[in-house]
């Protein structure tokens, strides 16, 4: 075989570099396209809904007049439902993920559980709604309440949290565990002081992805019977009439942002489209700010990790 001449080598390199650049350009194009879509979407909502970005819009209840209609009951409802969802799903999901990774024996039962969790992540949300209608609303008698909705969405995002917890735990080098055990820590102490803190950034990402999905869900919430017109807020802790307890709000009827938006887009009066656009932007802002908080926390926590 004849050795390649310098020209030939240069040609091969140039060809490789050209392909490299083509791929790079394609990648940038795809990214730009995705960004363009989201920017266009947000810009469209901002422009259409510009008239409604006032304090009143956030502080008014729904109304038959587009100008008076606001999202007070919707954003309060969405936040409270998210709170219940997070309180229910995060401890359960993290504990389940931790158990499967650190405690469970590798046998067929564990395998079945694992396969099922992965499958659950792909179940359409409406199915969760039907399940929740039967179990939470009627069987447990929780009614069409914030608690029912929060638990329903918790079920929906539980697989996401479990899977991301496990991924995060798996990324921790085995020597951390071994080191901890070697100095006499029990399994629980190892989890408590090493595994969970180190896995926290990854867990947090999963939690936020889950909550961001939950906040936009409409189908299961409609299925369990969220309302469309509701011009009062759930009772605040220790306030309201008659004097409410700390947790009275969990049993209150409610509505959420996606339902309000859907209702506005389907009304005869075109003026409501402005409200829908504005509310859409608010929902978007809620999701983005949740993501921002997650990114910030992840950054702070990563800095603390010292292997």
């Amino acid at each position: 075989m004849k050795p390649l001449t310098n020209e030939q080598i240069r040609a091969v390199i140039a060809k490789g570099k050209f392909r490299d650049n083509v791929f790079k350009a394609t990648g940038i194009f795809c990214l730009a396209l995705a960004l363009l879509v989201i920017v266009a979407l947000i810009a469209d909502m901002v422009i259409k809904g510009a008239d409604r970005f006032t304090i009143d819009f956030f502080m008014n209840f729904a109304s038959r007049r587009a100008k008076d209609a606001g999202i007070l009951s919707a954003w309060v409802g969405s936040l409270l439902v998210m709170l219940v969802t997070a309180l229910a799903a995060v401890p359960l999901g993290v504990a389940a993920g931790l158990y499967l990774e650190e405690y469970a024996k590798r046998n067929w039962i564990t395998n079945v559980i694992e396969i099922n969790i992965t499958n659950l992540a792909a179940v359409p949300s409406i199915v969760y709604g039907l399940l929740a209608l039967g179990i939470f609303v009627y069987q447990f008698g929780l009614g069409q309440s914030i608690l029912s909705a929060g638990l329903t969405l918790a079920l929906l995002i539980l697989p996401i949290i479990i899977v991301s917890t496990r991924e995060a735990i798996r990324a921790i080098p085995a020597m951390i565990r071994e080191g901890s055990m070697a100095v006499g820590a029990t399994r629980w102490q190892t989890c408590r002081y090493h595994i969970v803190p180190y896995a926290m950034p990854g867990i947090l990402t999963g939690v936020i992805i889950g909550l961001a999905r939950a906040i936009g869900e409409t189908a299961p919430i409609i299925t369990i019977g969220a309302l469309t017109f509701i011009a009062f807020l759930p009772p605040a802790p220790f306030m309201g009439e008659p004097a409410a307890g700390l947790f009275d709000w969990v049993m209150a009827p409610f509505t959420v942002m996606p339902i309000q938006i859907f209702n506005w887009t389907s009304r005869p009066d075109p003026a409501f489209e402005v409200n829908a656009a504005a509310a859409g932007f608010v929902l978007m802002a809620m999701v983005l700010s949740m993501n921002a908080v997650a990114i910030y926390l992840r950054y702070k926590m990563r800095k603390k990790i010292k292997w």
Partner: protein, 335 residues
């Protein structure tokens, strides 16, 4: 280990009893309404004004789960008032009876299903029920695709159909009135539960024709052309308008819409007050949300039925096509 599980179960019991007790308390002052999306704008307007008038001392919630969904909850004893865009059916009557739910039927307004075309459409001056049957019946699927197949005087152009989704009361009524059998329709048309999708569709296509509730036409008159429908009784084409619904000439696409009130709920002062408010201000608010109000006597008659304990329906479980306001009033009076 045992200590923990005991503690957890004690907490659980305490929690459930706490929530349970408060759930009852929280319900005490709430009037619960659910059902049809067609009736929703009226009930919502009344609820809004009522809460303002009562300074929020009484709370009203209104949901949208469709006429059928509303009656399911109503007969399961979950809500006080059911919004309905058609009279209660025989099956629903049986369900309510089985659950011991008695009710007062209250017509609150009239709606006019409106056949609409694109404003640029010049040939569509009027339509007959027979023409609509030719166009919409199941046999037309895949066959009647051009305007001149319906009426030779119309052009040789494709016809684009827009209509209500199969779960809505609008679909049920339109098919029964035009095709002759409820829910019997061709399937190859753009169907949507969201009427604004239909408004957009018809306003963008010269060859389009569609149907939906009058309110959507009234709010979008600049983008749509309401097609007069020939009244089979008089043979005259009648335009869709509030006046023509009131005088009974816009038939057979005029229909009454109702609320059904649970008799048991009438014992609750807040429900009774809400109804009195509804019947007193219903006519004005109905007009505001672009429906056709009933004569004053209809609203006072509804309250009369409550006071004289006249319960049940005047329709006998059947949906009737083309009943005019006058006929409805006579029937309600006879009850």
């Amino acid at each position: 280990m045992f200590k923990y599980s005991k503690l957890v179960s004690a907490l659980a019991v305490a929690g459930v009893s706490l929530f349970g007790a408060q759930a009852v308390q929280a319900q005490a002052q709430i009037v619960k309404v659910d059902g049809s999306s067609t009736v929703y704008p009226i009930t919502e307007a009344v609820a809004e004004e009522f809460q303002k008038a009562k300074k929020n001392a009484i709370k009203v919630t209104v949901g949208i789960s469709g006429t059928g969904g509303g009656f399911k909850k109503f007969c399961r004893d979950e809500i006080d008032i059911s919004n309905a865009s058609r009279p209660i059916t025989e099956k629903e009557m049986a369900d309510c009876k089985a659950a011991g739910v008695n009710y007062v039927e209250m017509p609150v307004a009239y709606d006019a299903l409106t056949i609409v075309a694109n404003p640029k459409n010049t040939f569509l001056k009027e339509v007959t029920v027979a023409e609509m049957k030719t166009l919409w019946e199941p046999a037309a699927q895949g066959k009647v695709m051009k305007w001149n197949q319906v009426n030779p005087a119309w052009p040789d152009a494709p016809v684009k159909l827009f209509g209500a989704g199969a779960d809505s009361g609008t679909f049920e009524y339109f098919t029964e009135a035009m095709v002759g059998k409820a829910k019997s329709s061709r399937g190859d048309y753009t169907a949507s539960e969201d009427d604004n999708v239909l408004v957009q569709g018809v306003s963008r296509d010269v060859n389009a024709i569609g149907y939906f509730g009058y309110a959507y036409y009234a709010e979008n008159m600049a983008k749509l052309k309401g097609v007069p429908v020939v009244n089979p009784k008089t043979g005259k084409a009648v335009e869709p308008s509030a006046a023509n619904v009131e005088n009974g000439t816009y038939a057979p696409l005029s229909r009454p819409i109702f609320i059904y009130v649970k008799v048991k709920s009438l014992d609750k002062p807040e429900v009774k007050e809400f109804l009195e408010f509804y019947m007193k201000h219903g006519a004005k608010l109905t007009k505001e949300v672009k429906y056709v109000p009933l004569p004053a006597a209809a609203y006072t008659g509804n309250i009369d039925h409550v006071n004289k304990k006249k319960y049940g329906t005047v329709f006998g479980g059947k949906n009737e096509i083309g009943i005019t306001i006058e006929e409805l009033m006579k029937r309600e009076a006879k009850m």
